[in-house]
Each structure stands twice: as C-alpha cells, then as structure tokens.
Amino acid sequence: MRDTRRTRLVLGVLLVTSLLLIAVDHQGGENSPLRGLRGVGATVFGPLERLASAVVRPVGNTFDALRDAPGQRRRAEDLLRENQRLREQLRSNTIDKDRAAQLERLLGGAGLGGYKIVAANVISAGQGYEDTVTIDVGTLSGVKPEMTVMTGEGLVGRVTRAGPATATVLLATDASSTVGGRLEDSKEIGVIKGEGRRGLGVGATPLRLQLFSADAPLAVGQRVVTLGSKGDRPYVPGVPIGTVARIERTPGTLTRTALIHPYVMFTRLDVVGVVVAPPKRDPHDAVLPTQPAASPSGS
C-alpha cells in the first residue's frame, strides 16, 4: 500500500469530523447550529433538483400514463401502428389532462374547506428511512415551515424546512410523524403515527391510529380527519386522512389502535398543495369524499 500513514491520518480526520458532526447535530436537535448547513444545501441543490426533475418528469409521466391507464395504453398501441407522431401527441394530451384533473381536485378540496393553498410539484424524495419529499415552492411563494401539505385526496404531511424556491415536506407516513386525528361524526380523538418504510412487512398500512379513549367506538371503514393543531400549525383541521382498515386488539393497553388506509398514495405524489392560510372555521367533515365508504377498502 502506498502512503499508508497519510491514508490512515486522512481516514482518522474524516471519521472524527463526521462523528463530531453527528454529535453536534444530535445534541442540538431542532436548534442545532448545523441546521444552517441544510439551508446552504437547499440553496445549492434546490435549483439542480428542479432541473433534474424537469428533465426526468416526461419520462416518469410516460411510465405513469402507461401504467395508470391500460385502456389508454391499448389505444396508444393501436395508434402506434398507424402513426408514431399521433401516438406521442395523444400521450402528452393524456398527461396534461391527468395533471389538470389532479390540480382541479386539489383546488376543489381546498375551496370546500376554505383553505388557501399554493400548488406545488414534488421534485425529489428522501432516502434511507426518512419519508420526506422536496416540493418546488419555497419562501418566495409564501411557504413557511410548519404548514400543512395536502392533495385533493387528503393529508400529505407538513413542511419542515423552507428554502427560497424549494421546501422539505415530512410525510405523514414517516416514523417520526404524529398527527392529531378525529373520527368522523364523533368527537373521538387520537394520534396518527407513521409506520416508516414498509419493507418486507406484509399487510401493513403506512399509518396507525391510537385512540385516547380505551372504550371508544371504532369500526372498520370509519373515516379519519385531522383534528387541527393549536393555532393551525402545523396541521389545519378537517383534512381527510384515511379510513380504518383493521382494528388491533391488544389487551392490557389503555389506548385502542387501528391501522389506517390513507386516501393519498404516498409513493406516487405529484401535485400537492401547501395550506398557506388556514380556514376561517373548522370545516369538520365537509372535505371528506361524498360517497360514504360503505365497503371498507381492503389491504
């Protein structure tokens, strides 16, 4: 080995540096002096991520269009035989319509609840064990930390950090996320925790509800909305979260737990909205989907 002593020295310095970083950041928690570095990261990598996402989006959209609509795909394949150019046109139209529909649902939901939202695209996602995404709006669009993020379907999470043109969103499915929730039509409240990455877990849902009351009525198919935080930060009230998929009976505990099937597909987030101004009045159950979930959606 060439230059082993120097190599060892460099290794030592690097290891000590990273251990110091970890120690300082871990001790500091939310007020850690190193959080400023994340701001630098957002400023440097934010625009790059927007660019990268703009480049890969058409590719992803094409895959999505193919997977989402088998009928469209068949039609597209028919057209492929006729005319390559026409097929491309059709696909891009479908994508535009799809995204317009998503946006419309989002705006509709926001109008129903009286939320004032800023629409955003998801441009990147976190790795390892964290369920976080970056969105392409930031402080320049009025987005601040501790704001609710939702789609037309329901709750996505909350903003944890905002750069000038990007913001980081902690998804409700993250293992460190807790959201106050309320069962529809009742005053039963509880906490909804993220389950983290699913991995090999079979039959698991990404969210788990803990009801504070041990004898509260709880039924499969019941729907859950956000309770709303104090001062509407980070969570505004009345945002649909999901339906009760399975009730867990663990004897000897003071709380009841249930697995929640979320309304939002967390792995396929695209257009989301940041609630920049909370509703004047708690919308209660007004934002829930119109048809009651008579048959609980499985899985």
Binding site: I22, G41, T132, T168, D174, E195
Partner: protein, 193 residues
C-alpha cells in the same frame, strides 16, 4: 489526493461530477420509484463503492465523506447531519482496500459492490439505532434492510458499468491500480481508437 497532480485534477473533477449526478439521480429518480416495500436502491453508496474499488482507499474515503456530507444536506434530507458522511467514508475506505484484488476476475467488482452495499446498509442502520432515531427502530430496520440490500445488488451492475465508463474516459487506456476490469477495458479501448 491522487497519484500525480495533473491526473489528480481531472480525476477529482470527474469524481465530483459523478457524485453530483449520482445524488441528483438518487433524490429525483430512484427515491421516487414506487418499488414494492417503498424501499429504494442507494445509488450514491453504490457509486462510492465503485469509485473506491477502481481508485483505491484514499479516493474511496474522501469521495465517500464528501458524497455523504452532500447527501446529508441535499433538500429532502431530515436525519442527523453526518450519518451518511460517516457511513460512506467507512464504506469507501473498506471498498478501497479491496481495489488491488479487482483485476483477478471480471465479475469481482460486481460482487464487491454488492458486499459494499450490504456493509453500508447495515452500518447506516446501526448508526441510526445507536442514535435512538425513531425511524431506525429495530422493527423497521429488520424489515427494510434485506429488501434494500436486494435492490442495491440488482442496481449495482448498472452503477459499476456507468462509473467505469465515466471515470475511465479521462484515463485513456492506462488502467491504474485496480482499474483493469478486462472485458470493459478492452471494449472501451476499442471504442476510443
């Protein structure tokens, strides 16, 4: 940092470029893939391992540290700063130690990258558990690590191939250290002439 100065500059620049591209691909593409189990392959770690295997342990650990620090700071990141820096640095060093063995067999780099990925996944989980991170709870680690290793192994040939392509172009036909993966060098050589 590298053997000779002029080669060092080009090589460093190239390594930086490769890492930046890997990080962007990781956050903007790989992490958004709706793969079963919502676990994703770690392209950055695979890139660090591949670079270390071809360039030696010094490059491996420095690249690993820098790539890790960048991964710690890239926007959606929300963990304790320094975790990836530590893990990638160690992984880069260990992989670099194996670099002299790389010319024994053409398939060895692929095996080594898979092993490096396994070590990296376990090390990251271990650091998380030691810090008491609620996300790196034992139940979550035990159900995600096997799948993450599987995805990394599946992704590793592509990363090895890409890194080899990108990092070799500057170095012409002079395989230095553990660079000579026979099949690849030969093919590249022919293309460049």
């Amino acid at each position: 940092m590298l053997n000779s100065v002029e080669e060092g500059r080009g090589g460093t620049l190239r390594s930086v470029l490769i890492i930046v591209v890997a990080i962007l691909l990781q956050v903007a593409v790989a992490n958004r893939l709706p793969l079963p189990g919502s676990v994703t392959p770690d392209l950055v770690m695979l890139t660090v391992v591949a670079l270390a295997l071809f360039r030696g342990e010094t490059v491996g650990m420095v690249t690993g540290f820098c790539a890790g620090l960048a991964t710690d700071l890239v926007p959606p990141a929300d963990h304790t700063i320094g975790m990836y820096a530590l893990v990638y640095c160690v992984v880069g060093y260990i992989s670099g130690l194996a670099s002299p063995e790389m010319d024994r067999s053409p398939s060895l780099p692929f095996v080594a990258v898979a092993l490096g990925a396994l070590v990296g996944n376990l090390a990251y989980a271990l650091v998380g558990v030691m810090l008491g991170d609620p996300r790196a709870d034992w139940s979550i680690v035990s159900r995600t690590v096997p799948l993450a290793v599987l995805y990394n192994v599946l992704a590793s040939p592509f990363v090895v191939w890409a890194v080899l392509r990108l990092s070799q172009r500057s170095e012409r036909l002079e395989p230095r250290g553990g660079l000579s993966v026979p099949g690849f060098s030969a093919r590249l050589g022919r293309q460049q002439r």
